[in-house]
Symmetry: C2
């Protein structure tokens, strides 16, 4: 019998997993065990700390509900979601717009609006106009691309946080014109706190972090034959632009409203941003959390 020691136990676990029929599962779990054990060995994890970790992970799982995904929030705040997105972007090439986190506030079936409409049902602050074009990687407009957009109100809350399921606001669907062009009006979104009343919020507070995301507008953009793009644009003058608690900001996704006399609403500050979609490669089109149906499964 091979005796287990601090040095040999890791290989004993790997040996027991070696017969895993699915090659990819074997590869992933082998690496997971090696890195998990290396972590425990490096910090000399004590039984008391182990038990705190068990209790924490149990509470994270138990905090998940159909409308709250604490496990994803943990992944987000530890930068794992951002890393997975960055690797997926790199894998699919640099021709497309960077992806960014879907976040927990995406909803299907938001109102279908006409180009130029305002996505705030009862604006309480000054409006801006957003103008964009959906293009292929060669810069040609993609006709009639489908755009979904959602953001906080001017006080930093998503509709779900105020109205629950009862009302949609500050979110809409648009169809671009024959050149892939679209525009809409909205209020400036505001920075907001991730949910701080659960175990992940406690962790973030214990780490002395502010728990805020810089103000941003979410986009989910699709067109037949192209990889679905899940991204967000971040307001460059936000206090938290350099310290997003979920590491979703990349330089290429930063926007600033400016004067634009040529815009369809020349009196409003204008944001201009063009999105490039990659050709679908036959693989499942997804970024982290990109598919709401799988998000629902993750909540189950």
């Amino acid at each position: 019998m091979a005796d287990l020691t601090v040095e040999t136990v890791t290989d004993a676990v790997r040996a027991q997993m070696e017969a895993t029929p699915d090659i990819r599962l074997r590869e992933v779990m082998d690496a997971a065990v090696r890195h998990l054990h290396a972590f425990a060995r490096e910090v000399k994890l004590t039984p008391e700390e182990w038990l705190m970790g068990i209790a924490f992970m149990t509470e994270v799982g138990k905090s998940c509900t159909p409308s709250r995904q604490e496990t994803i929030l943990l992944s987000d705040t530890l930068g794992l979601s951002a890393l997975v997105n960055l690797m997926a972007d790199r894998h699919h090439g640099h021709d497309a717009t960077d992806s960014s986190l879907l976040g927990p506030f995406y909803r299907e079936n938001s109102p279908m609006l006409a180009l130029g409409d305002c996505i705030a049902t009862a604006p309480r602050s000054a409006l801006v106009v957003f103008q964009g074009q959906v293009k292929d990687s060669a810069g040609r407009g993609i006709p009639h691309a489908a755009i979904e957009v959602w953001q906080t109100d001017a006080h930093g809350s998503y509709d779900m946080q105020i109205h629950g399921e009862a009302k949609m606001d500050h979110r809409a669907r648009f169809v671009a014109d024959a050149q892939g062009l679209f525009h809409f009006r909205t209020e400036r979104p505001l920075a907001y706190n991730i949910p701080m009343d659960g175990p992940v919020g406690r962790m973030v507070r214990a780490q002395g972090r502010h728990g805020c995301r810089p103000a941003h507008i979410h986009f989910l953009i699709g067109a037949a034959g192209y990889r679905e793009l899940v991204t967000a644009l971040y307001l460059g003058d936000d206090n938290y632009i350099d310290s997003d608690v979920v590491f979703g900001v990349s330089e290429a996704l930063v926007i600033m409203p400016t004067a634009d006399a040529a815009s369809p609403f020349p009196d409003l500050p204008a944001i201009r941003y063009d999105f490039a979609l990659a050709r679908a490669s036959g693989e499942a089109a997804s970024r982290v959390g990109a598919d709401p149906s799988t998000l629902v499964q993750a909540n189950a």
Copy 2:
């Protein structure tokens, strides 16, 4: 603004956690993020796989109830619990008996029996006699040490798995004599399967593992001034002695019943094992899961 890439995102997360006031929390989380990201980078974790991981960890947390701790089972089957125990044993020196996993079937307030009694209330198989002595690290008997013992019946089930909370069987408490000596009679325990009806069972099956623990007898031994010992003894002729699904077996904890004409029950096969306790060092006396009150918290 520092732009996030596959290469820089890990340091961005670490920088945001640098202000953690508690030095040990900072150290543990810094290592956790580094190893978590190294794992994701090594296997090039895809968004689809990430989502499977999120769903799995969520289900593990949600499967926990007051009488079932799936997160601990995950830690056990990945060898993390064994590693933490091995490090704790090493930290506290080699003079004491090896610890082993507490497991999920410990119960407080088991029946207090007299030395020599049988812990099976209605034995259905041949009995064995267990004789032990509780000693200090110099080999001197510890008077009146408190012993708790629990095991499966001869069919491989714990009392809780058959009777729920209603009845205790195959478990008892004893007080050693003035020389630290104790003995009791019991049935041979049988190998058993970890709970296979949850996410961890699915993982173990997908890995082609049998999911069995070799037959064993649990012990929790305490005496004033000594570190509480949580351990188990494993039957050397069990089919699973070399492939425990939770990696709890060490060579020093293997036993075999033999004939012993000098035992108080000379007609029964006899198991002889002496336990050495380490002096309490002022730290909290605990092994992984050693304290039932913290175990309850982990279930919360």
